[in-house]
Amino acid sequence: MTDAWRKYAAFFMISFKQSWLNKGNLSGGLLFLIILLFTYNRLWEVIGLEQDQIGLNATFVWYLLFAEMIILSAPRSERILADDVKSGTMAYYINKPVSFFLMRYAEALGAMTVSYLSMGTLGSLAALLLTEKPPFLWWQYPFIFIACGISSAINTLLYTAIGLSALWLENIRTLSMAVQRLAFIFGGAIFPLTIYPEWFVDIAQWTPFYAVYYLTIRLVYDFSWQNLGEACLLNFLWTSGIVAFIAYAYRKLNRRVNVYGG
C-alpha cells in the first residue's frame, strides 16, 4: 500500500473504531431497522393472507432488509461536509497533505462499514425469525451481501457529493431528504420496482438509483450471474458519473475557498 492510501486507511480505521464505540448511534440504527422489518412484515403478512399467498412476506422482508442496509448504513456525511463548507472549517483542512474530500469519504466509509456489518448480522437474524426461510439459497448470501456492501459504498459517495452542493444551497438537509425519497421510489428501496407501472420503470431505469439500489437488491429474489454482472456494470458507470460531478464541484469549492479565505 502506498503512503497516500495508508493515510486514508488510517482515517477509515479511526472512524470505524469511533463508530463501533458509539453504541447509542449503533443501537438506534439497529432498533429502527428491526421496527421497520417488523412493521413491513406485518403489512405483507396481511396482504399475503388476503390474497392467499402464504410466504409472500419472506420475499419482501428480505428485500427490504438489504435495501435498508444500503440506505441506513450511510452516515450523514452530507451534513458534515456541508458544515465544513459553511463554517469554513475546510479551509483548515485544505492545506494538509491529504485530499479533504477523500478524507471525509474514508471517514464516512468507516462509519458505514460498522453499521452495514451490524445491520447485516442482526437484521438477517431478525428477518430469519420473522420469515423462517429466505427467498435465496444460502450459498448466494455472501454474493448478495458483498454486492449490497458495494452499493452502500456508492450510496455513501452520493451523499458525500450532496454535501458539496452546500456551495449553491443554504440548507442541504431537505435536498438530501428528497434524494433519499427519490431513491426509495426510483430505486425500489421499500417496494420492488416489479409492482410499479411499466412507464414508471422506464423512467427509473435512467436514474442512478435504479442501478445503485434496485439492480443490486433484486439479487435477493432473482439471483443469477447475469443479473450480478449487469448490476456491477451499471453501478460502475453511475459511479463514474458521480465522481465526475464531485471533481467538478470540488474544483469550484477550492477556488471559492481561495477567494474568500474559508
Binding site: G29, L36, L43, L169, T174, M177, A178, P197, F200
Partner: protein, 264 residues
Amino acid sequence: MGAKFVSFCRLFLLIQKNHAKTAFLSKSDAFVNVLMMVVNNFSFIFMWWVIFENKGSINGWSFGEMALLFAVMNNAFAFFALFARGSQTLPEYIGNGSLDNFLTTPRNTLFMISVSESTVANWGDFITGFAMFFLSGYVSWNSFLLMLLSSFCAAIVTYAFRLMVSCLAFWAEDTQRLGDNIFMAFLTFAGQPASIFTGWYKILFLTVIPSGFISLYPVEIIKNFSWSALGWLLLGSFGFLFLSIKVFKFGLRRYTSGNRFGIR
C-alpha cells in the same frame, strides 16, 4: 392566568415571526426547501398509491383512508416541526450545556426550549396535508374541521413522543441519533395503514409506540365520527403530553449545569 396566557401567545408569535424572518432571508432557498419537501412527500404517497392500485384494499383500508392518514400525519408533523422542533434539539442542549441559557430565562423552560427551533421546509407538509385531504374523497365542512382537530391532537402526540425520547439525554450520553431513530420508527409505524395492526399489535400501536393516535383514531373520526373515538384521541394525546412533561421535569432534576456562559 388569562393575562399570562395572552403574554405567552404574544411571545410565541414574536418568536415565530423571527423564525420566519430568518428563514426567508434567502427567499429562493426557502422556496426550494419547501418545494423539495412537497416532492419528498408526494413521492412517498406515490409508492402507497401504487400498492393500493395493485392490491385494491388492505384489511378494509383503501387509498382514500390512506390519503386521510397522510393529511393528518403531514399536518401534525408540520405543526410540530414549525412550532415546537426545539424538543428534537434537547439532547444537543443537554450535551453541550446550552440548556443553562433556557433555565435562566424568566419564562417557562420547556416552552422556550420547544419554540427555539423551526424548519421552514415543513411548510411543504402543510401543503401536502391539505392537498391529500382534498384528494381523499371525504371532503365536507364537517370532515375538514375534524381533520384540523385530529391533526392538532396528532401534533400533540408527535411532540410528546419526541420530547420523551429526547429526555433520554438526561440519563445517557450521545442520544441524539438514538432519539432520531426511535422517532423515525414512530413515524414509520404511524405511516402504515392502521388496519394491519390487530390484536397485540394494536395494543403496542397505542401504548409503547403511540402511533395509533396519529393514524387509527384520526382516520376513524373523520370517516365515521363517534364521540368515543374522539374521547380516546383527546385522552391519549393529552395523556401523553402530561406524561412527557412529567418525564421532562423528572429528567431536569438530574441535570447538572455545563457551566456555559451566555444569555438568551
